[in-house]
Structures are given as C-alpha cells and as structure tokens.
C-alpha cells in the first residue's frame, strides 16, 4: 500500500528513497495523531479534575442541614436554604420572562423574516448577545432598574432573562427551520390561518427541540454569578420578597469561597457541588431529549 502510494507520488525515484520518504510521512502523521489523542486526553482530564475536586471537597460537607438551615455567621452550623430558594426564584423569573420572548423572536426569524434585512439584523444581534459578557448585562440592568430603586430579586431575574432570550431564540429558530414546508402547507390547505399553523402544527412538531433550548438556557443561568452581583446583591437572611435583595447559590459560593472561615469554605464547596451537578444533569437530560430528532 505504502509502496504503491510512493510510486504514484514520485515515479522516477529510487524505490529505496521512495520507501524512506513514505515511512517519514507515515511517522509524521502518526506523531500528529498521537498529539491529537493527547490533546483530547488533556481536555477530558480537566473535566475529570473539576468533577473530582467537587466530589472530594463537597461531598464531605453534604448533610441535611445544608437544605434546612439558612446561611448563618461562621461557626453557627449554617446551611444554604435561602440561597437555594433564591436561586430557584430568580432562575424561574428569568426563564418565565425570557422563554416567551425568545420563542417569539425565534418564530419571527424562522416564519416571517427568513432573509429580510430586519430579520438578518435581529439574527446577528441575537447571536452577539448569546456570547456577550454576562457581567455587562448585570451592569445594564443595574443602570436601568437598580440605580435609584435599590437591589432586588426581580432585577436579578430580569438580568437572567436577558441571558435566556438569545439561547431560546437560537434553538427555536433552528428547530422551526427543520419542520418540513409540507406540514405548513397542509395546515393552510385545510383553511388554518398562518398563526394556527405555527402554534398548533410547527410548535408541536418542534416541541422537543424548543424544550431542549429552554433546559439549556435554565442550566446556563442557574450558575450565573456576575450579573447577580449588581442586581440582586445577595442576602444573608430568608427573603422571598422580589423587591428586596435576594440570596442566590452562586453569590453565596462567591462570598464563602473567598472567606477565611473553614466552615464557610466547606459550604461553598457543597454549593459548588450542588450547582455543578444540577447544571450538568440538566445538560445531559436536554441532550437525551434531543437525541431522537437526529
């Protein structure tokens, strides 16, 4: 095989030189392949190291008091209850506001504006927002709602909603584009107006994919810290008042991880363990939900 290849590549050469050249090329290829396997192994090692660190340092502190006690001063056997509840509330607000907006924008892009100038502009801006630094979205909500009104849980939820929108837009548009045109034509031929064809035919057919997008968006914002720094601020006490500063798991982790108190650092690791495995579980569920489509 290698001799034939070399013969075609250099027919006039001495066969011994050709064989040597072929061997050299094979060796280079093998070397690069080995580097690629090594690169993949190193990447997986990073993930393994993160998961091992979380389990190693987090599992030891995991107990029922984490879920039943509030955050308390160091040495007081505190838990993370208010942080967990605050995170759930703010993530829910973000998803509740961001999802319908995102679905409507995705619908606009897929059904109404396939190649129009406005549609292209919206798609471009949404894609930029998808990767825009989340800390700037926090500053934006701070300027808009917090400056002069004070920190609040609703502001935290709003900043997460801004992050949710472009994620849902992306998946909704992609999924709606996969729906065959014939399905829409069939609906219209039966006399259904366009909006009914979209809502009752296209949404239903694309449900798996859209749900996947929503799950991924929730997974993304559940771990967001930077935007909450300037919006919901954090709260050491129990508070589900949307107008007041609200605690959240990432902010509590941030506060505790940098503290000199050992029990706080331990709680930070427990919180990190909870949030990471929650987020990774959501991701895996979302991927499994998407699988039949492929």
């Amino acid at each position: 095989m290698s001799a034939t290849a070399a013969a075609i590549a250099a027919p006039n050469r001495d066969p011994q030189v050709a064989t040597a050249l072929s061997r050299r090329r094979e060796r280079i290829s093998l070397f690069v392949k080995a580097l690629c396997v090594a690169a993949t192994a190193v990447s997986l090692l990073f993930l393994a190291s993160i998961l091992y660190t979380l389990l190693h340092l987090g599992l030891g502190g995991l107990s029922i008091t984490v879920f039943t006690h509030m955050t308390k001063p160091s040495g007081d056997n505190g838990g993370l209850l208010n942080a967990i509840v605050g995170s759930i509330i703010q993530t829910a607000i973000g998803a509740a506001i961001g999802t319908p907006v995102g679905i409507m924008v995705g619908t606009y892009l897929a059904e109404y504006a396939r190649a129009s100038a406005l549609g292209n502009a919206v798609r471009f801006v949404s894609d930029v927002l998808l990767s825009a630094p989340s800390i700037l979205i926090g500053l934006f909500i701070y300027q808009l709602f917090v400056n002069g009104h004070g920190y609040s849980g609703i502001a935290g939820g709003l900043s997460l909603a801004v992050i949710v929108i472009p994620i849902v837009v992306r998946t909704t548009e992609d999924m709606l584009r996969l729906i065959p045109l014939a399905l829409r034509e069939a609906a219209v031929a039966l006399g259904a107006p366009k909006w009914k064809a979209i809502v009752f035919i296209c949404y239903r057919a694309a449900l798996d994919g859209i749900a996947t997008g929503i799950l991924l968006a929730i997974a993304r914002v559940a771990g967001e810290t930077a935007p909450l720094l300037f919006t919901s601020l954090g709260n050491d006490n129990w508070s589900i008042d949307l107008g007041a500063p609200m605690s959240s798991l990432p902010l509590t982790i941030y506060q505790y991880a940098g503290s000199p108190a050992d029990d706080w650092v331990q709680l930070a690791w427990v919180g990190a363990l909870l949030i990471t495995f929650g987020v990774l579980a959501l991701n895996i569920i979302a991927r499994i939900a998407l699988r039949p489509r492929r």
């Binding site: 690629c36 993949t40 927002l129 700037l136 810290t225 941030y254």
Partner: protein, 320 residues
C-alpha cells in the same frame, strides 16, 4: 380596521385574519425588541460612563492610574490585562481544540465520538464560578509548587524569556488566569471546529486518501484550507468569550493595578476589576462611572470580535 371588519361578509374569516395580524405583529415586535435591547445596553453603559469620559477624556484609555483616594481613574491596566490573558488563553486553547476536533472527526472510533464530544461540551456547561474555585484551590497551588518555580529557574539567563516568565511564583496572576480561560473557551472552539470539519465533502478527503495522502496530510492540505474561514470564526468566538469572562478570572488574577510586563505577576482585567470594585463604589461617584465606562469599552471590544466571528462563520454555515 374595525370598520373594514364589520363590512366583511364572513365573520369566521374576519377573526382569522385579525388573529394572523396580531400574531405577526407580536413576532415582529419581539424581533425589534432584541435590537432595542442591544441598543439599550450600549446606551445605558455609555451614559453611565459619560461623567468619567468627560472628566478624563481620551486619556482614560491610556492612563494607568486607579486611585480612589484622589479620584483619578484610567483604563490602560485592565485593558492590558484583558488583552494579554485572552491572547495567551487562545495560544493555549487553539492547539488543544484543534487536536480535540481532529480526533473527534478523523481518528476516534464511531462509538467514542458521541461520549467524548458530550464530555467536551459539558466543559462549557460548568459555571464560571466553579472554574474560579477550581483555579484558586487546585490550579494555583499546582502552579506555585510545580510549574512556576521550575519555569523561572529554567529560563533564568535567557534574554526576553526570563523577563516574560518572571514574577512572584504565588500561583495566581495573569498566566494562571489565562490557563483557566483556555480551559473555559476550549469547548467552544473545539465544538465549532468539529462542526466545520464535518462540512468538508467526503469525496475531497477520499480523493486525497486515494492518491496516497496520510491522515495528517489530508487534514493539513484538504480539511484546514477548506474550513479556514470558519475555523478563524470559531477562534474569534472563543476570544469573545475570553474577553468578558468574569468570575473565574476574579479568583486567580491577583487584582493589582499595575503593568509589570511579566506573566506570573498579578494584574486585573476589565471584568474582574468591575466585579471586585463595584461593591465599594458609591452611587453617583466618579469611580462607579469609571467602572461603567470600562464596561462600555469591554462591550465595544467584545461586539467587534463577536461580529467578526459571526461574519466569518456565516457564509460557510449557509453553504453547508
């Protein structure tokens, strides 16, 4: 509208038409809302930073001061830190990502592709703050114990390099921040590269194999030239992510407002400075305005990088 509707002869048809109009209007409004959102973000950051821009003018960009006592603020140090950590992160992440993408498209057995691809993508799902803790508690001590002292000793006496890789071997600093950033942007670059490598028509690769090319030669001469634009787009996407990354960097950057020129020394980035100093800024103060001005600068830089990334990724994606 209602007058036209009342003269229509078939009531059912009338309601259907208005239903369509309402739905279309809501969809268009949602689309326009996204444009307004981006505009509002830019304008709000600019207005917030205006007092600072007024006070310092263009000198804000070049001044290395950050003096809350005398109320003198400059953006040069955090801009320097942001650019240095991001570029360094790409230098580390791009070869790794290329290796992963090459492995996943050409080398891995079919049954391994999905699990390994998913694992690499999960790396992108780990929250930023977790990277920060991992960096601070695992990577920084590792760097301080094994890597940095050895590198400093090895490079001692070599011009340029000995100055570049100098500084206190504490484990925190620009280099460690770049390393964490590299791990964070790796999955984004790798996923984009893998996706665009897959768009290469199999017949091109088969032709190359047919004339006796090795796997690496096919990659270098067929796949990479065919996908070059999109690969650069993927790298720019990674750069856009690295520029604005906040929590992970905040943990390991060391936060000093100084340009030392060496990589093991501490520094700051725009995002880390904003996160760390925001809590100590009074409402309406020049410091808060300067932080918002930094946010505006970061937004402009990220927007340009992400826009380039989109433009590079778009045409090929459509053709594929």
């Amino acid at each position: 509208m209602s007058q036209v509707a009342s003269t229509a002869s078939v009531p059912a048809r009338r309601s259907a038409i208005s239903g369509d109009a309402i739905f279309a209007a809501v969809a268009v409004a949602a689309g326009v809302f996204v444009l307004v959102l981006l505009g509002a973000i830019i304008i709000s950051l600019f207005i917030g930073g205006l007092p600072s821009f007024r006070a310092f003018g263009l000198g804000f960009l070049t001044s290395t001061d950050w003096d809350p006592v005398q109320h003198i603020y400059g953006a040069a140090v955090p801009i320097y830190g942001t650019v240095v950590t991001s570029i360094l992160a790409l230098l580390m992440a791009v070869p790794l990502a290329f290796g992963v993408a090459f492995y996943l498209t050409e080398l891995a057995p079919a049954w391994l592709r999905r699990p390994i691809g998913t694992a690499v993508e999960l790396l992108a799902a780990v929250p930023s703050i977790i990277y920060g803790m991992w960096g601070f508690f695992v990577i920084a001590p590792f760097m301080a114990t094994y890597i940095e002292p050895n590198v400093i000793d090895t490079l001692d006496g070599i011009p340029v390099l000995q100055d570049l890789f100098a500084g206190p071997p504490f484990g925190t600093g620009l280099f460690t921040a770049a390393l964490i950033l590299a791990v964070m942007v790796l999955p984004f670059i790798a996923a984009t590269m893998r996706d665009v490598f897959m768009t290469v028509p199999p017949v091109y690769k088969e032709s190359a194999y047919g004339v006796g090319c090795t796997t690496w030669e096919v990659m270098r001469s067929i796949v990479v030239p065919y996908t070059r634009t999109s690969v650069v787009g993927g790298i720019m996407l990674g750069l856009g992510r690295a520029l604005g990354e906040t929590m992970a960097v905040t943990f390991v950057i060391g936060n000093t407002n100084r340009i030392t020129g060496n990589l093991f020394g501490s520094g700051n980035t725009i995002a880390s400075l904003v996160a760390l100093e925001f809590g100590e800024s009074e409402n309406g103060s020049l410091k808060l305005s300067s932080l918002l001005a930094l946010g505006f600068i970061l937004f402009v830089i990220s927007f340009i990088v992400l826009a380039i990334s989109r433009l590079l990724l778009r045409p090929r994606a459509v053709r594929a």
